[in-house]
Symmetry: C2
Amino acid sequence: MKTTTPTSRDIAEIAGVSQATVSRALRNSPLVRPETRERIQSIARELNYFVNRNAAGLRTHHSNTIALLIFDDSKTVTSQLNLFFLSMLDNIVRSAARHGYDILVSLQQLHDDWHIEYRASQRADGLILLGYGDYLDYREKLDALAEANTNFMIWGPIVRDQPGHSVGCDNETGGRQATRHLLDLGRKRIAFIGSTSQRSPEFAARFAGYVRSLEAAGIQPDAALHAPAGNSEKEGYAAARNLLERNAGFDGIFAVTDLLAIGALRALQEAGKAVPADVSLVGFDDMPLAAYVTPPLTTVQQNVEAAADALVRAIVGMIEGHPVESTLITPKLVIRDSCGGRDASVPR
Amino acid sequence: MKTTTPTSRDIAEIAGVSQATVSRALRNSPLVRPETRERIQSIARELNYFVNRNAAGLRTHHSNTIALLIFDDSKTVTSQLNLFFLSMLDNIVRSAARHGYDILVSLQQLHDDWHIEYRASQRADGLILLGYGDYLDYREKLDALAEANTNFMIWGPIVRDQPGHSVGCDNETGGRQATRHLLDLGRKRIAFIGSTSQRSPEFAARFAGYVRSLEAAGIQPDAALHAPAGNSEKEGYAAARNLLERNAGFDGIFAVTDLLAIGALRALQEAGKAVPADVSLVGFDDMPLAAYVTPPLTTVQQNVEAAADALVRAIVGMIEGHPVESTLITPKLVIRDSCGGRDASVPR
DNA sequence: CTGAAAGCGCTTACAG
DNA sequence: CTGAAAGCGCTTACAG
């Protein structure tokens, strides 16, 4: 039934050359006479021949594949992947394709023993790690990877003494941008929704930016304005409700992720608070839905395309033996309608 | 620097057995004495040994990998992948992992010559094809795949004479559900936003459901209420504006995708039309953001998890040589706030 | 510029 | 239950 796949030997026979010459011709080796090369390549095309990746990989020890490990410790039953990561994935696949690499995707539970396998099994030449989550758990995995001499790049914060290199958002700057925007609009009592724990260094950095901006404006951060939360719409909702119920008295919210902001938005609207008239709201991430909620969410945009590209560029560099460095990507405040403009009826 | 990866031969030497026995032990062959197997496996664990996939694949002609080809003929510069596909991807990766398969992701342009390569290069044992787009272009690719005897499953409609098998949403039923809901709410002039061309059979089927529901209610479909559109927020916006400007006189809209519905929503709100008080709006897909727009969008939910699972199950079955069939998955109407309830102030 | 040959690391009949 | 051997389809020194 199934016609057997042609091999380089089949082509050699048809072309009347050795199999080695076929291999060289297909890889565009300058060692092959141009006419011979052309002839071989046209036969290959005709036969729908493609180099067997397993054989080539076995020989060269390269798979031309990058494994994208998205780790995801959400305990929810319908664990919806964070849209931000999906958008990263999209961009990473595109960028990798440009470099001639395939992307193998794996959604990892934190407790899994993934750290070595992809590389050791020669399925991938390098790894890109994506994921928020408990940093301390994560850390162990990184150590194991470094020890095994695996090529890997991390999406995330640059953390002192952390093994490996990372590409990350300059979260502190982003936190400052968000907070300063609220301050510029005349907001004085700015709540912070999200974790500040060192277990989530990127969130902690955003918080640090928040604190820094407040202090630069001569405002002492008020602990009563901090509502801790994980990272889900539900938790954002709960955090905002909590602030409301405690009568924390706030006129602005900086939510450490868009998902939290969207949850907060729902709580505010339910409670009859107008956004932005009563409360200005800023998120972080610019996930696809940020533009579509009502009012459209002002947020700090991570440049996903640049980040994906930097990650791919770096991992490809490592695979090819070049030295690579960690990179911080500066985010950008995207002003929509959830904060109100200078000309809006915002008390100054 | 880099310590060489251990091979089965290394383990054989340490265990004092032949390399063949190591291979058998690691694959849990019953031919190996239990004690021997245990010993070998523990050595393998200690050495962080993993079977070289290239070598195993070369030998067995199996990669244990499924290529997910997402085809995407969006011409937009920042070609944001349809969130629906990303959510499919998420579920497909999870389901494949359960079956012991890796997922290789490729974002294909329609004009690319992808159809044969993944299989012929032994990078994947089978393909899953995802994508809306121009069906007629698509069709050629499918023919080529079938001719090459490639294992593939299609996400999409069951189309007569189409090569291969597919898993798809029962779009006509979905179209009926959406339309009947609007009718039940007392809406009489229901516009349809989207393509009805046979080039997009899934949209055409939703339209057929719309027509059928109208007719069942004794209403003749009115061509003036049809606003053709591609599949983007922008086109949804434009289509709704067009309906408004033409004074089409409508009290309900069935948009053939959520993205279109969200665009239409924006146009309606800009024009001062209240949703759902003035116009009831239904979408299709239940993409993640449908729940977060204001008002939350009533839509037809495709069961992404079931679809992904059916696709993976089928492709794995094909790879293992079992006969497979096409499947239609019945969607479900998810009632949110964009249509108004029976108790809302909707004219009956 | 080309060919003969070795070898990448497995799996699996075949023989015991 | 175990081993020796062949072979999957390439790539690449080595020799000409």
